[in-house]
């Protein structure tokens, strides 16, 4: 009892600490002072009256949302004596693996830098600054020579690293377990099985209405859709983050999605936020980073070639270039297994006083990174809001998809979850694919790393991301990947090579995500 209480007070203290530095705190203080003018506030019962005022005016809700946001993002403190690295990643071997992967990336970046003799960062001459400012809304029309730039790494390079991950404490010995050795991932992490997933994703069950299934043309809207939309509007009116998160598990109506996601991520466009974005924009104008060219190259290679996202090319530059310069993103490294790369001022290698994080936000983009932003352009059109939403999505979810950690939503766990699901429930298919040299993870990895962006049709992707937000977890990506394989099982059983298997699974754009998930989780006979 006592332990729980002290845990709770520790959590409360930590959250209060965090919120004290935030804008919300200043606003609440101001509101409290202003409320003293109101007739209903009496000196005798000052505390209760102000609390009451906050409740009525909606400020309490805002505070609630902020607390909820903190709880969702930051992991709960484990043990008071645990060092900060444990918060990042409790397993030593994972930390080591992430560290060496980062070294490799940085080496690759530095060698590109030396080869092309381009500085990592330089200040733009005034003329160039003016030009860029003029072209800010149409940077896509620029055609810089990017032929010499290569993406620092691609998902398949990362997959090779994950395949070679080993836990030095885990010795399999002679007992060749059927599970652990058949797939590509060889580390023993705990992943959910289907009964656990059924419980976790209970709102996706057959008896609960879903957008993506129960709003199809054959179903009369009175049965589910109308009521669901009505509830959604109510949730928005109440401005309750937690309720929105719960609501969105059943899918979000198209017209309400933008606001609901903003509510869940606790994003409200304050003047300070717009100002912050403008500040980042100024940083972009003033300094040119090598990373910018990588971003350009990635956008040109991926989003610009996409049939639907090509339209948003300009927005992608406006978001990603600013993102690279945003030092507030460094905050997420406290709970990510990754660490921001350090760069040293010329000639001062090794001297900590001259170390800076490079890029300023500590995130080096890889091939396909821009696809995290592209679907959001469908929902948000105002650059600073789009930016905030993307940043929040990144520091809550996307960073886990390209760093090595033991977190249940980390990419390693997702890969293991995928392979386990497939082995357990489709053993024949799994075995067949393995025999022909087409390990399923080799095909599904790229889907999961990109959270299916660019592979699914946009409306289906947004329904999928609704559930990511609703369950605050990326596990659904692994479940969907397994469900896709299950769906195409008949065709896959007939292929005889990796290339043929790739071909069967090349086009996911016609798939309907929710029926696949429902069938796999709730309607498959095991």
């Amino acid at each position: 009892m006592l332990q729980e209480e002290s845990d709770l007070s520790l959590i409360i203290a930590q959250i209060v600490q965090k919120l004290k530095g935030s804008n919300l705190y200043a606003q609440l203080e101001r509101q409290a002072w202003a409320s003293l003018q109101r007739p209903e506030i009496k000196l005798e019962s000052l505390k209760e009256d102000i609390k009451e005022f906050f409740k009525i005016s909606g400020w309490e809700k805002k505070l609630q949302n902020a607390v909820y946001s903190e709880l969702s993002v930051f992991p709960l403190p484990s043990h008071p004596a645990a060092p900060p690295e444990h918060l990042k990643e409790p397993l030593v071997y994972m930390r080591k693996a992430q560290g060496s992967w980062e070294k490799r990336i940085l080496k690759s970046l530095n060698s590109m830098c030396t080869e092309l003799s381009i500085p990592l960062a330089r200040k733009r001459p005034v003329g160039e600054q003016k030009e860029l400012l003029n072209k800010w809304n149409e940077m896509g029309t620029d055609e810089p020579d990017l032929s010499l730039f290569r993406p620092v790494y691609a998902p398949k390079d990362f997959l090779e690293v994950l395949i070679n991950l080993r836990n030095p404490n885990y010795e399999n010995g002679d007992s060749l377990s059927f599970r652990t050795h058949l797939g590509l991932i060889q580390v023993p992490l705990k992943v959910k099985d289907i009964p656990e997933l059924k419980e976790f994703f209970v709102e996706l069950g057959l008896t609960t209405g879903q957008l993506g299934i129960d709003d199809s043309t054959q179903v009369p809207p009175e049965l589910f859709e109308n009521e669901h939309v009505r509830i959604g509007q109510k949730v928005l009116a109440e401005q309750d983050s937690a309720a929105a998160q719960q609501y969105v598990r059943q899918g979000s109506p198209t017209a309400l999605r933008a606001e609901l996601w903003a509510l869940i991520l606790n994003i409200s466009s304050q003047p300070e936020d717009i100002l912050y974005y403008e500040q980042l924009k100024t940083n972009v104008i003033q300094h040119d980073l090598l990373v910018d060219s990588l971003i350009y190259k990635d956008v040109k290679l991926t989003a610009s070639n996409d049939d639907y996202y090509f339209v948003f090319e300009d927005y992608l530059y406006q978001v990603l270039l600013c993102f690279s310069r945003d030092t507030s993103v460094l905050g997420h490294f406290a709970y990510s297994s990754a660490s921001p790369p350090k760069s040293y001022i010329r000639g001062k290698l090794g001297l900590e006083e001259y170390a800076v994080f490079y890029p300023p936000n500590g995130v080096i983009p890889f091939h396909g990174f821009s696809m995290y932003v592209a679907p959001l352009c469908f929902l948000y059109h105002e650059p600073s809001k789009l930016y905030q939403i993307f940043r929040e999505m990144y520091v809550r979810f996307f960073f886990r998809l390209h760093s090595i950690s033991s977190h249940p939503s980390g990419i390693v766990s997702l890969c293991l979850l995928f392979e386990t699901l497939l082995q357990t429930y489709l053993p024949q298919l799994f075995y067949h694919l393995r025999e022909i040299g087409a390990q399923p993870l080799r095909i599904s990895f790229k889907w999961m790393v990109r959270a299916f962006s660019g592979y699914l049709a946009t409306d289906q992707l947004l329904l999928l991301w609704d559930r990511i937000l609703g369950y605050n977890s990326l596990e659904i990506l692994a479940v969907l990947a397994a469900a896709v394989f299950a769906f195409r099982a008949v065709n896959l059983m007939e292929v005889t090579s990796l290339a043929a298997a790739e071909a069967v699974l090349a086009d996911l754009s016609t798939l309907k995500v929710m029926p696949l998930l429902q069938i796999f989780l709730f309607a498959t006979v095991t």
Partner: protein, 430 residues
């Protein structure tokens, strides 16, 4: 059962000329063939041909404007101002050079706005330019057209383009010119187009007309939005690539990457708008577009020679402005059937397949169908309701038109069900 012999799906009909001698049952013909041969070709009852004799009443910009203006006046007289205002989907247009003076009057009333000059009979963006000063077109008018015409220009003015002039009312000015000037229209340029990603786009929608008297028109659910490759700005009205969204023009732009295509399917466009403006605004926009299709067809209903052998698949070009109002840019009688991408190819092949189903050479349909594949019956001598039973013509009520532009197109399933039930019906003796 007559078997269609002469079917050409890609592009226009091959010049068949002499060797066919009326041996065909179905001809997807070229408009030039039609012009030369229609009048003296005998066609059996069952024969179908893919154009109306004088389709140019709808598709040539100057005739369309005339017909629309006339129809509008008629509506105002017969029904009232409100109904007539529904015809205001065409930007103010003046035929050149005969309405030049009217144009100048309008021009002076609105100084500083941009106008666009389009040749009446050409397509694919050829010969179009923008201007703001009268000086620009005065030069052009005097025959120093070379200054304004870009390299995309074909040679101006062949007299073959003008049909034998029953509608031409040229002013005496023109006869002075040595070079025969082809007809142009000057149209008010829509300066506040709706932009997506900073780019201008227009919509291509397909309407199939089976007859004009009575008016029977079908609307295809699929279509696409064509994007300009460059960002919209009014600063560079000389830049063809910014303003003209025809794929043909975009293809020559230095920015153009053929792998990209620059089209969005209408479903995607509809979803995008719904997530931005909400479903009601989108419903209104699409019903305004329905209004454009119907009114434009009604305006030429009495003028077009309605031959029972004829049908026509039109490609409507619609531009949306920032207030979500749709404008009619033009109507094409021979919409391009070449594909710029896999998706495009599928759309066009399905479109053609469904067109043939509606034309129904094999006489399988009962004639009471409201949907065939991707086509929805939009107008059947009166509005067609989505609900079963007789249309509710009592003004508002619960009338929802039977159009599903940009909606789900499960045509394969529908066709299967349709033909299955038709087969079933045939088995039962009547």
């Amino acid at each position: 059962m007559s078997r269609p012999k002469n079917q050409n799906y890609k592009g226009h009909g091959l010049p068949k000329g002499k060797e066919r001698e009326g041996e065909w049952d179905f001809y997807w013909c070229d408009v030039s063939w039609l012009r030369e041969n229609f009048d003296h070709t005998y066609m059996d009852e069952h024969v179908r041909i893919s154009h109306f004799r004088n389709h140019y009443e709808l598709t040539r910009k100057n005739y369309m404007v005339k017909n629309l203006k006339r129809f509008r006046k008629q509506l105002e007289r017969e029904v009232g101002k409100l109904e007539a205002a529904k015809c205001d989907f065409f930007p103010k247009t003046f035929e050149m050079p005969c309405e030049y003076h009217l144009f100048v009057e309008e021009f002076r009333k609105n100084p500083g706005i941009t106008w666009i000059m389009k040749p009446v009979a050409r397509s694919q963006g050829k010969g179009i330019f923008l201007f703001r000063r009268l000086k620009d077109i005065m030069d052009w008018r005097k025959g120093t057209a070379g200054k304004k015409l870009t390299s995309l220009e074909a040679q101006p003015a062949r007299s073959a383009i003008n049909p034998s002039g029953s509608h031409d009312t040229r002013s005496s000015d023109d006869q002075k010119d040595e070079i025969p000037v082809e007809n142009y229209v000057a149209q008010r340029y829509i300066e506040n187009p709706y932009l997506i990603g900073g780019r201008k786009f227009d919509l291509r929608v397909y309407v199939l007309v089976m007859s004009y008297i009575p008016l029977r028109a079908w609307l295809y659910r699929d279509g696409f939005a064509r994007f300009s490759n460059t960002r919209f700005t009014l600063n560079s009205i000389d830049d063809q690539y910014v303003h003209l969204t025809n794929v043909a023009v975009q293809k020559t732009s230095p920015d153009y990457h053929p792998k990209k295509g620059c089209k969005w399917m209408l479903q995607r466009f509809r979803q995008y708008l719904a997530s931005k403006h909400g479903p009601e605004a989108v419903e209104k926009l699409f019903s305004d577009m329905d209004n454009i299709f119907v009114k434009s067809l009604q305006s030429v209903q009495k003028v077009i020679i309605s031959d029972k052998h004829c049908f026509e698949l039109y490609g409507y070009d619609i531009l949306i402005d920032q207030d979500l109002k749709p404008w009619l840019l033009e109507v094409n009688a021979s919409p391009s059937l070449t594909a710029s991408s896999q998706e495009d190819y599928e759309l066009k092949t399905c479109l053609l397949e469904d067109t043939l189903h509606v034309v129904d050479m094999e006489a399988r349909l009962t004639g009471r169908e409201k949907r065939v594949g991707g086509f929805d019956l939009m107008w059947n001598d009166g509005p067609v309701s989505r609900e079963e039973g007789a249309p509710d013509l009592s003004g508002m009520g619960n009338f929802v038109t039977n159009t599903h532009l940009g909606c789900v197109n499960d045509r394969k399933k529908q066709l299967r069900q349709l033909f299955h039930s038709l087969q079933g019906q045939k088995k039962v003796p009547s």
